[in-house]
Symmetry: D2
């Protein structure tokens, strides 16, 4: 008989933004149930989380290691199926490896790891174990992003010439206070890695550029900077010139000090026949432009557009949670298929996308205004 | 110990749009679990639903009566807490009454009932039993709608003069085929009542106008029409002139034959000091306009705006499901409070909003181009 | 040899908004030259106007009668060709009649006259004299409005079902001071006529609805009101239910107390095949919507759209002055054709549109909440 | 007695886009009259132009030299006051020098010259002669651009950190045919200079960035490319990383092969306190964003914003022609002041802006992916 896929969550303790978001997204389609977690090391808060999440206290573990070890020993019909990692970046690799070594599938936040070596170790482990590994590049799962990818794969844009991706945010325009947990770990090299802005959001722009076009960045030249004190010199703003393998060119701009900007990820791709434009803050619309006629504004699930990735009819706005849920649901199906020995064609980002993202971050930091290969 | 609130769902069988939406919204915040349902009378489909929803077959009942009766007999720690009704309109009243007669709280889709008499019977029953009753006017639960309501209550707009609400849709611009279940029951007077367009969506415009302003429509004059054959003369398009108790005036326009329109509910309210504008298809933005300075575009959860009704930071789009989930979660908290004898101030629409909505629909149909009191 | 067409202007003295606008629009294409005027009765201001407009003082007349009489006596190669009337409404009729009686062509601001009788007298005079008469319904001359008209004439929208025209402004939301000349004469029945809001801007909505669709309003029911004191009860806000000759229906909403609104004329027309939407404040875009595919955003002069009414390439915004200039230029060509005995197919609104507009205003005021024929 | 300022135009023959635009803009405010021109060398077309422009044939000259020489000999009350140059780029310098050597003021299209040496020679000549010289960077004259400049000068944005300017166009996405005169001379190094895209439109982005912020670019690194054959290798697409004198950074992106784009110049400037955003295709709106409250959408001439550069009330769209007319009118006033020995504070771009623009183009081409000083 069909059963729900069981999730163990690492990270997402009190005050975490992304933990609560993961829990909602995972449960959205009703196929995944949260059965345990290593949300926090604080035993008092741990109890509170158990209460809040309707979990037995004994399955709210004090550490990811304890969680993975204890769950391994539970009966097959009870133990978690996969580990979802939404901790700060620096421990992604060790948790993921530990989970896979114990036979658990893994869903991991991005950027995947701090170093390229760690990233490649994860990729090797995925190949070795055959486990399911999904990287939470959730913007790839918005319906209209996938429609865009299909259009380009279908040749609707012709040969791609120009790619412009931008991701301005304003939330780190000032010095971060200690209470701002999000802001604190993201601006600390010990937890976030060698880049703040490009690591956190520039990497989304990179991932989306390559995901939608199917093209790889071959070379880049960056100009990044730290504006706000207290960030150990980590970049909070920058631009990256891009050259793609097919001769296309363009630019990624990202900033966390772009005051007044919310989460304004936007991508434009120009080909020889047509161009597309998509904005994350208006995710239901995909604009396609032509030189020889009217621009077309495609809307999610209007006249069937992107229907297979939709839950609601057109005009009933979907957003960030639905995008993330698309990845969780796809991931749960992949686990289900693996468990049942059935082939499955997943659409979520993989460990190899993770490797590429980490390489991008390192190339951007290494560039220092000169061209480097990617 | 804290527990989840348990839902039994009536309606929402295979092919239902709104049933799946209710299930997602109910589970979004993790406080409600679906434990049973009367999704369909077809026993084969019933089994399929059980499988799809991970429910035991014995709790997928063949009728709402069977569900209510059987659940009543289950132990307190197991049986459903409330009935959620998302059937066609004609059986809302009987299900709701039956549920309350058996001591179950009720959440009901709108329009609440077919007739004013039924609506008032429901209101009387709610008063008599003290049970929790929520009406699913989900648009009232969008964060920026509530921010608008607060602004007006706070006097930011001054005295209200003009209210314009519109709700154009295009999905019924052509004759409905039988496979289109949604379209079929909504255009059939037996299931939908005396009005199609004004009942289904004009009533949202009415509800939102009164909810946001806190004013009541005192008089109206309508011009409604049936354009597409096969609807037994039920209106699929119309406009309603409005006069409000305070002297304000305005208009509601609604259409299901407004070809090319998705779900374009929009409301504008003009006072003596300022005006507001909100569009359901861009629900994260509330525009406030002035004669003596720049218009302000408030955004959900930016600088704390509407934070208490938000799950995500600004710029991470929320939408329809989150709005509906706001009502479900508020409703579950109200049930929890009732069960624990704790006072609770709910924000969801009530049975009295339902009475008003049904009266509105009847007044619109009765008007036939003349002024009638509401 | 080709020569410029010579204009005499009545009205548009110091402080007039519309006078300066007329002068710019008339000269925009370089075919019309202002040669004289009756701008003001004040002899000091008159001299100042002569200086400002580089006109000889003797051709800045103290009254329209003096202007028309004196110019009549000038040699043919010198005297004005036509009279442009941009005075308050109450003297449109007498000036226009006097001008035509002296053989001058006339361009007149709208609404054409205060009464239906005056309007019909003008129409009779135009028929009798064969002179060129243009009514300044400038919104009909925006390129994308004319593209919309062509689309509908071409059947692209199918049979028209719904027409929604709105014209909210906020500039009269407060009591008008005496210095506000615009506001003063427009809110005074002696100069503006029996309606303020519907006469000034509702009539634009009416004209545009009929112009674009080619359909006539057959019946209407209005709800209009005076909100701000000091307007002798003249409406400054209202809505009008519409029924069209072909069975289409809809609504016109207009307000001068819609605080925060600039000049937000907008029209939407829904047919059986497609719908169009146009906003005066974003006049370069015409949106066409469909049920079976993506909306198309046509842009002025992109891929040749509306090129024949354009001066600039797409993306180089044109606006209000260019619209008005389209009428002046067309009008000048019609005069040129008349003078040379050449046939000419003009596109500007005629005296018959003016009659219809005056009838509309009177019907709206007469309705008082009941249905009246138009 | 006051008189109009008299213009002689070089360039703008049949088929020229920018010539007709200059003539309209120059006449818009009624202070300038076109008295002569060297529109074309073709004597037949020359006569046609005389006819079309209502000019005597003898003042439609066969060359700019003839025009300047002949006009010099006319009586003071008759001869042109200034020369307006809207030819291809390669002859700007020689015409401007010749005109100034004959004592005529000059208005010149941008880019000012082909080489830095020519640019500096012009600057020297302006200093030497004291003549009025205006450079047609018309985007600086849009009202909301000037409002933005004032806001920044006023400290409203705090210290500037990030500047993003983009100028995508699609009109050169394909090979240019011979009939496309615009396209032909702009893609030919003999007439356009060493850069096509960056020279024609990148230079607008540069000028606007420096104009609005009052900051200078200190260093840049470009990545430019020629995509379409037949352009002698001239760039038709590119991005330029920027570093400003105060430590701000950012990027200019420009393209003539961005298919589907009209004339989408846009600029965003982020400071420590607020940010601004302006789009040329929606020029009436200036968005100001904050981290601690709602974004404000300022509109031209609403509540007096930018009123001194406006002709029309808010909501009556102004555009490209009005921007250009702002420069012509300002220029005419400067000439008038010079002729009358009166001091005058002009706002139009000067010969020094022209020098800077030419230096920018040369730096971009010289960069070839490395950092160069500007």
């Amino acid at each position: 008989m069909k059963r729900k896929i069981r999730m163990g969550l690492v990270g997402g303790g009190p005050g975490s933004f992304i933990g609560a978001v993961h829990r909602i997204a995972a449960r959205l389609d009703g196929q995944i149930e949260l059965v345990c977690g290593a949300f926090t090391r604080d035993p008092v808060k741990c109890k509170a989380m158990a209460q809040e999440l309707y979990l037995p206290e004994e399955r709210c573990y004090a550490s990811y290691k304890e969680m993975i070890e204890c769950e391994s020993k539970l009966p097959a019909g009870e133990r978690m199926d996969f580990v979802s990692i939404c901790t700060p970046n620096h421990i992604h690799a060790e948790i993921a490896l530990y989970a896979m070594d114990h036979g658990f599938d893994v869903l991991c936040e991005k950027p995947m790891t701090l170093t390229v070596e760690e990233a490649e170790a994860l990729a090797a482990k995925v190949k070795e174990t055959g486990l399911v590994f999904a990287l939470m590049h959730n913007y790839t799962a918005y319906p209209m992003v996938r429609v865009a990818k299909e259009m380009i794969a279908n040749g609707d844009l012709g040969e791609i010439r120009r790619i412009m991706a931008e991701y301005p945010q304003g939330w780190l325009a000032d010095v971060v206070t200690e209470e701002n947990k999000q802001g604190s770990w993201r601006t600390d090299p010990a937890t976030t890695g060698i880049s703040c802005c490009m690591g956190d959001i520039g990497s989304h722009a990179e991932n989306l550029s390559e995901f939608i076009t199917g093209l790889q960045i071959s070379e880049l030249c960056s100009n990044i900077k730290n504006f706000v004190p207290g960030r150990s010199g980590l970049d909070d703003d920058g631009d990256v010139l891009l050259r793609f393998e097919n001769g296309a060119q363009g630019v990624i701009s990202a900033s966390q000090v772009a005051i007044g900007e919310e989460n304004a990820l936007k991508i434009r791709i120009y080909g020889t026949k047509a161009a597309i434009e998509w904005r994350q803050e208006d995710p239901e619309t995909l604009i396609v432009k032509y030189n020889d006629g009217a621009a077309r504004h495609f809307r999610r699930n209007w006249a069937g557009c992107g229907a297979k990735w939709s839950r609601l009819p057109a005009g009933h706005p979907e957003g960030f949670l639905e995008g993330m849920a698309n990845i969780y649901t796809d991931f749960a199906r992949a686990i289900d298929a693996r468990l049942n020995g059935v082939p499955y064609q997943s659409e979520f980002p993989t460990v190899f996308d993770g490797v590429r993202g980490v390489k991008f971050i390192h190339a951007v930091v290494a560039s220092k205004g000169s061209w480097v290969k990617l």
